[in-house]
């Protein structure tokens, strides 16, 4: 029972990956669909997708840092 925090950290890490992958997957599919419909707007679509993508990545990274803190600081 002493090492239960490892269990929680591993579970949390997996859930972060699921969430981030779902988010990035939706971004990629929406961007690809948009570009397929309107190839001339590819640059604008990429620019519009960039910012929320980085915000999403930031949330995932933050969660991973907290998981690391659970393991290191207990």
């Amino acid at each position: 029972m002493e090492n239960l925090h490892f269990f929680g950290a591993a579970l949390g890490l997996g859930m972060i990956v699921i969430g981030a992958a779902l988010g990035i997957g939706r971004f990629a599919s929406a961007a690809a669909e948009g570009i397929a419909r309107q190839p001339s707007a590819a640059a604008q679509i990429t620019a519009a997708v960039n910012l929320p993508l980085f915000l999403l990545e930031g949330v995932a990274i933050l969660a991973e840092v907290f998981v690391l803190l659970i393991v290191l600081l207990k």
Binding site: E2, N50, L51, F54, V59, I61, L62, E64
Partner: protein, 317 residues
Amino acid sequence: MFQPHGAETAAHGGEHAAEAAHEGFNAGETIIEHVSNSPIDHPLIHLPTLVGIDFSVTKHVLMLWLVAAFVFATVTWIVRRHLAAGRPVPSGAMNGLEFVVEFVRDSIVLPNVGKKWVHAWTPLMLTFFVFILCANAIGLIPVFDVLGLLNHWVIHPDHESFLGSVTHGGTTATANFNVTAALATITFGSIIVAGTRAHGFIQHWKNLVPHGLAWPIYILLIPIEIMGLFVKPFALTMRLAANMTGGHIAILAILSFVFLFTEMFGQAAAGIGVGLAVSVPLAVGISALEIIVVLVQAYVFTLLTAVFIGMAIHVHH
């Protein structure tokens, strides 16, 4: 009843850890030692404590100074050489520098900050971009590790000396949370300065929340907006530092398979085999990914700073 048991386990654990440190290869400790700053009681250069702050130079501070000196010297040299040549058309390295400047101005600052303020904020963004890019990239070049090999085979200095500690392995300055927190603090300040210059001091703080709503909403909205004020630089800090640390940890973890497998099978051939078959190709792949991450993270930090400054200037409520 539990206390003796816990104490016994702790003693056993400590004994075990000490044993492992003496005999075996501890992957976690080695990796953490490589990515973390040098401990404050063993700095590279001892400096006196002023006003309660220890000014001793550690690994990350040294890297920070090296990067700053490198950026300053290179950019100054390129621009001076171009000016001295007296030609209107740039050549050589000046071409690359102008490409970077135009990229930052036209595709990062201009779309977010707007035409009116672009010349006010481009210098700050350029400083962010070039500095973070160089700090990230120099951390990726294993120059200090090569020096460490030289140190191990050729020079043999004392471990406590300056050379002995400096060749202990290079690090990325931007992988330290304190460095990125300082950069994000500049962002935090510049958001306030941008809003103040565009709307006046009082109006900038009023702009944080939209006006003309029913009063119960403000009770909810004002704390959220104040929290958002601090979350922005905090997220910038964590994103840059965690990305830089994460890549290095991944490379080192994969390379440490060599030593783990050598230990597991008790012969060097197993480790070398795993190294050639798995570790080195994977590490090369991740290093290639890291080159992209280095560029993207410098871009993201600059872009988000520009977006936040733009948000303070163009209030959308």
